[in-house]
């Protein structure tokens, strides 16, 4: 268990930081937002990530993986969180790629090189209600004749409006609440009976509501084993929760550093406001919280790399603690910036909004607190 990045991982982090400063600063997000960009991300930037082989970082070496591991990928996510960069990396690689890799089998695993080459994007359609509750999945998958029929509605499908293919969690057996009976299917977004409604979220990223109206699929659409999708899904959720926590950590660090810079400079009553103890103590508390979150994220990433059996516990800790941290720090950032914190001109509000959206991705704080308690047996 190590929580210190090695030299290669540090170099990767610095390189990505340089790329983001140059090609994907916060103004890029503003441009996408203000133009209501149809794709929701800058394909040129995605190509740059592909050119740097970022998508294959966590793929098994036989698929061109680089061996930086999740600690390396987490470092990339953290840097992207700093500039609020938008890309298919999370949905396509961390969620979709993981599921295909874990499911194995030729038709799907063969797609990994296409992902690595930037030729294929994916979206995971998992949530159905107002909150993340994967066991409650009610969308049905029925085996009929030689094929499958998919029927139901999905919400908050990240990148669902633009991804080439959708990876859908559906129930083929059992009842909502059961782990058994969940299955995964992969289908092109543009399949007959699939209705995609883009939803533009307040953080400038895009998601979609996707409706499947008795969509007919061939048997090859099935990813993994029928009824046994949970074992894959669980790992996908853990990886996703940890990586999104890494991104959120980056955002928290950035908005905190910007706030510290501001209170060191802003003067009222003839002094710099950062000299007030009321602000100093709150700032110091935030620093304590951030360092603990950094620890937990580094630890969770290294657990993924080491295949630790407590991954789910670590994932829930990371997501729950970082959720609370980002919420708190983005609130304090607005407050400490005073009136300026309320303006759209300053970037602070963008972090505030990103925090809220990210907090809902793959489980809010209560979800992960409850999951942790269940895993701990109380």
């Amino acid at each position: 268990m190590t929580m210190v990045l090695n030299e290669e991982q540090r170099f990767l982090k610095e390189t990505v930081n340089g790329l983001l400063q140059k090609h994907q600063p916060v103004t890029s997000l503003r441009t996408l937002r203000n133009s209501d960009d149809e794709l929701g991300y800058d394909p040129g930037f995605w190509q740059q990530l592909v050119d740097m082989d970022i998508p294959s970082i966590v793929m098994p070496a036989s698929y061109g993986g680089l061996g930086f591991g999740y600690s390396g990928l987490g470092a990339v996510m953290e840097e992207m969180g700093r500039t609020l960069a938008v890309s298919p990396l999370f949905s396509t690689v961390v969620l979709g790629g993981s599921a295909l890799e874990l499911a194995g089998g030729t038709p799907h695993r063969d797609l990994l090189p296409e992902i690595a080459a930037g030729k294929l994007t994916l979206a995971l359609a998992i949530d159905e209600g107002h909150h993340h509750q994967p066991r409650a999945t009610a969308t049905t998958l029925t085996v009929a004749n030689e094929g499958l029929i998919l029927d139901g509605n999905k919400v908050f499908v990240l990148d669902g409006h633009s991804a080439d293919k959708l990876l859908v969690v559906a129930r083929s057996a059992g009842k909502p609440g059961d782990e058994y009976g969940l299955s995964l299917v992969l289908l092109p977004r543009e399949t007959a009976g699939v209705n995609v409604q883009r939803t533009s979220l307040m953080d400038g990223r895009n998601a979609a509501i996707v409706k499947f109206n008795r969509v007919e699929l061939g048997p090859e659409a099935l990813v993994g084993t029928l009824h046994e999708g949970w074992s894959i899904l669980l790992q996908v959720i853990d990886r996703g929760a940890i990586c999104i926590a890494a991104e959120m950590l980056g955002g928290s660090l950035e908005v905190f550093e910007r706030t510290m810079a501001y209170i060191k400079e802003r003067e009222q009553f003839g002094v710099r406001i950062g000299s007030f103890q009321a602000l100093q103590h709150r700032s110091a508390e935030m620093y304590c919280q951030l360092e603990q979150c950094r620890t937990v994220v580094l630890k969770a990433l290294s657990s993924l790399d080491e295949g630790c059996r407590d991954i789910s516990l670590h994932a829930s800790m990371a997501k729950a603690l970082v959720n609370q941290c980002y919420a708190h720090i983005s609130n304090e950032a607005v407050q400490m910036h005073g009136g300026m914190g309320l303006t759209d001109e300053l970037d602070i509000g963008l972090y505030l909004k990103r925090a809220r959206v990210s907090m809902q991705i793959l489980g809010d704080t209560s979800y992960h607190q409850d999951r942790y308690a269940q895993l701990m047996g109380y």
Binding site: M1, T2, M3, V4, L5, R10, M260, I263, K264, V271, R272, G274, S275, Q277, L279, Q280, H281, S283, A284, E285, Y287, C288, E291, Q292, C293, T295, V296, L298, K299, M317, A320, L321, S366, Q369, D370, Y372, A373, Q374, M376, G377, Y378
Partner: protein, 397 residues
């Protein structure tokens, strides 16, 4: 296999052979081994364990051998600590001289002072107390007024010190004293060692809210102290004091690890007092969430202290990281105590009634006692000031 792995194996074998079974049980306060001229061993096993560790110098594993220490490297000392933890070995000696005074004397003391005092600490022969705070000097320690007048061949000390740890049982006390009242307050303080047996020294225990009285007020009335008991230069005591406070903060986290290991986890305690439903879930949902928050936080703190350790000797360091440990660990410890009280409900309200079990009373006592954690060794507010200044570089007033 690296030499450190070899060392680990040796240590493990040695501990297994030499640590008596009874000394591998969770420590309780009454069985702690304290040093000093008037030391009493709680049991023959405790004495054996202490003497074996003492003879290897492992009461102070990483101190130099020329002063009686174990001479281990930092990495080896960590291995020893880990192996002791793995086997559940009790600390062989509880001593302020080990945790705070010794490290500072090794750094600032004269050769003669080190030879005189350090081996006696390692061997548990002398028990030390600390004389820092005063009735009118708490967080603003530098405003202390206990004075030591230069009388030519000796100092004459007058004043009183608060929160002198177990001074009624200590043999010696290290004190901060005012040696120059005319200069700015930090520049007129010296670091002086005083034999508690000197004429004019007296102590009065301070009873605490926990019902214990581990601390004393210590009075000095025309106490003659030999000149050679001055550590460092005259009027240069403040820098030693600051260094020592750092050790004290470290001590606070050591102390936290050394609190009596409970036979039940908080989770088990909660299940017993609050009850569970048919699915094994705690009956009180709000308490369940509070418990989760505590477990996550304390795990995060434990990992953070490991992360800090991992950074020893690394190029990349988070310079601010060591500054947060005292604050975050003591704050969480208090949250844990509050949680335990909430879990016990009306069973967690008595410090002495025989209706309540020894354990229930002990948990209440811990709750009250641990209120000191965020005050002693630099209050949380002072810690936050330090973080703001040194880690965040926020402007002064």
């Amino acid at each position: 296999m690296t030499s450190l792995d070899n060392f680990r194996l040796e240590v493990r074998q040695w501990l297994e052979t030499n640590c008596p079974e009874s000394q591998r049980q969770p420590i309780i306060k009454e069985e702690q081994i304290w040093g000093g001229r008037r030391r009493i061993f709680p049991s023959p096993d405790a004495r054996l364990w202490f003497e074996r560790m003492r003879d290897k110098g492992w009461t102070a594993p990483d101190w130099p051998t020329e002063y009686g220490g174990g001479g281990l490297s930092a990495a080896e000392a960590k291995v020893l600590e880990q192996e002791m933890q793995a086997l559940g070995c009790r600390p062989p000696l509880y001593e302020i001289g080990l945790w705070m005074f010794g490290p500072a004397l090794l750094e600032y003391g004269s050769e003669q002072q080190k030879l005189e005092h350090i081996p006696k600490i390692v061997r548990g022969e002398i028990r030390w107390s600390q004389g820092y705070s005063e009735p009118s000097a708490g967080s603003d320690l530098a405003s202390l007024i206990t004075r030591a007048e230069d009388m030519g061949d000796h100092f004459l000390v007058n004043g009183s010190k608060m929160w002198t740890t177990q001074a009624d049982k200590a043999d010696w006390i290290f004190c901060l004293v005012r040696t120059d009242p005319k200069v700015p307050k930090q520049e007129g303080i010296s670091f002086l060692l005083i034999d508690m047996a000197s004429e004019g020294v007296s102590t009065a225990p301070i009873e605490l809210i926990s019902g214990e009285s581990e601390f004393c007020q210590t009075f000095f009335e025309d106490v003659r102290v030999p000149k050679e008991n001055l550590v460092g230069e005259l009027n240069a005591g403040w820098s030693i004091a600051k260094r020592l406070l750092k050790h004290e903060r470290k001590l606070m986290s050591i102390m936290e690890m050394m609190v009596e290991k409970e036979d039940e986890t908080v989770v088990e305690l909660a299940k017993r007092y609050v009850g569970v439903d048919g699915t094994g879930q705690l009956r009180d949902n709000a308490l369940r969430t509070q418990l989760t928050r505590h477990l996550m936080n304390s795990q995060a703190i434990e990992w953070t202290s490991y992360r800090l350790f991992e950074q020893h000797g690394q190029v990349i360091k988070d310079a601010g990281l060591p500054l947060i440990m005292k604050h975050i660990s003591t704050t969480e410890l208090q949250r844990k105590d509050e949680l335990i009280l909430a879990i016990m409900g009306n069973r967690g309200l008595s410090l002495k009634d025989a209706e309540y079990s020894h354990k229930e009373q002990r948990l209440v006592k811990n709750w009250a006692y641990n209120k000191a954690q965020t005050i002693a060794g630099g209050t949380s507010e002072i810690q936050l000031n330090i973080i703001a200044k040194r880690a965040l570089d926020l402007p002064g007033h």
